[in-house]
Symmetry: C2
Subunit: 253 residues, 2 copies
């Protein structure tokens, strides 16, 4: 008789722990000491030490001379073969570069990931304003230009599901009423672009358009500008061209 396998919901514990450890590395923690990792993951030091050591051997982490661990080149290399990098980023980069040159503004490329906008790439220069978005970062769908586009082109069901969860409010201008957002999204679908005005950051606005493929919105491109430089018509036209160019590049492969 099997001795009452309790099934605490913790099988493959080791692997899950290892993934937790790697998950510690986020925008706020790009370099961590062993102790910090143990604290965040709540793992015993010795266990943590062993796992981190193995990850380091495999090149998934690397230890600096400051005794801090960072994400290793092996992990980075593997990640470059994610569809996100291989297809999207690679295809979009030249166009984004042109877009950046033409506008001189912050340019971002994002996809939908787990109910948030995942920034695949962004180009920021001295001329442009500082932003929160960063490559590899997640931001809410309803407060960003690219996010609203990504959400607008989702199936009805997914939209309602998103609206069912409480909507965060980073600024007073953020849209947090489900009905107001539904209206806004309908507008986005009608126009083919989204606009935000101080919905994420005070003083800046954004315009974004979808990148369509086979009738589905696979990504969104947007620019973030100072509110008083928000020339919607010009930006929409430039962005639409860029989106078409990226879509063509995606099909070209």
């Amino acid at each position: 008789m099997s001795p009452a396998r309790v099934d605490t919901g913790a099988p493959t514990a080791l692997l899950e722990r290892a993934m937790d450890i790697l998950g510690c590395f986020d925008p706020k923690h790009s370099a961590l000491t062993l102790t910090q990792i143990a604290e965040i993951t709540k793992l015993p030091m010795s266990t943590c030490h062993r796992i981190v050591g193995t990850l380091e051997q495999g090149g998934f982490l690397s230890k600096g001379s400051d005794r801090k661990f960072r994400v290793g080149t092996k992990l980075w290399t593997i990640a470059q073969h994610a569809p996100l990098s291989e297809r999207l980023r690679e295809s979009a980069l030249p166009t984004l570069a042109r877009l950046y040159e033409e506008t001189g503004e912050n340019v971002t490329l994002a996809v939908l990931d787990r109910g948030q906008a995942l920034y695949v790439d962004r180009l920021v220069g001295e001329r442009s304003i500082p932003t929160i978005s960063r490559a590899g970062g997640h931001l809410p769908l309803h407060t960003t230009g690219v996010g609203k586009v990504l959400l607008a082109y989702q199936p009805e069901k997914a939209i309602e599901q998103y609206l069912a969860t409480p909507l965060t409010r980073p600024t007073p201008q953020s849209i947090t009423q489900p009905d107001a957002l539904r209206k806004d999204l309908a507008e986005v679908r009608k126009n083919g672009y989204s606009i935000t005005r101080q919905e994420m950051t005070r003083g800046s606005g954004s315009v974004a358009v979808p990148i369509m493929r086979n009738g589905r919105c696979v990504a969104a491109v947007g620019v973030i500008v100072h509110l008083n430089r928000l020339d919607v018509n010009r930006l929409v036209s430039t962005l639409t061209d860029a989106a078409a160019s990226i879509a063509a590049e995606l099909d070209g492969h």
Copy 2:
């Protein structure tokens, strides 16, 4: 009495296997079925299945509708916090974009990784020629523009160690004689830039310059062009400016 722990050289087997599985994803295999993974890693199907399942749950892999696995967004997100992305790529991208616009040629950014040139980024357009280098890919040091720069600025000892291993020869023009390479590297250090002519790919050449920080060469930028368009003087000057600009951006943070 411990029953003669054999220590077959396979401790933390599970984690190592998981890393092996992730390592299957390379430029030639960006999408793999479970069976393919099992074949490559030589793991039993059932074991492979379980590990892959856990990795998928953690978002490190994702299964497409074609039953193939790809690198997941979680892994990709973590990788964006590698110093490679966070510091280097992010700082260099606007400059690379400008470089690409100015030259219209293939632009690459690389660092030294495990005795090879690791391509951190590249910009390729329709106007430029196809290349083998790709973001996340590795190429030899002695046959590429960026590679020769990275090698030239290494300590003597590291250079000799590299020369001690047999030098591959992708084309007849590749430098494979240690003495010839030593001479070439000295030239690179003297001039502050490297030139290749058909040493990696027939018909194309390249120019590359170092990105210096605190007297150390932390990366290299280069362009790859058709042999008959190889205007060394112009490219060197443009590249040197770009390298200085990236170095400034790196310090700025």
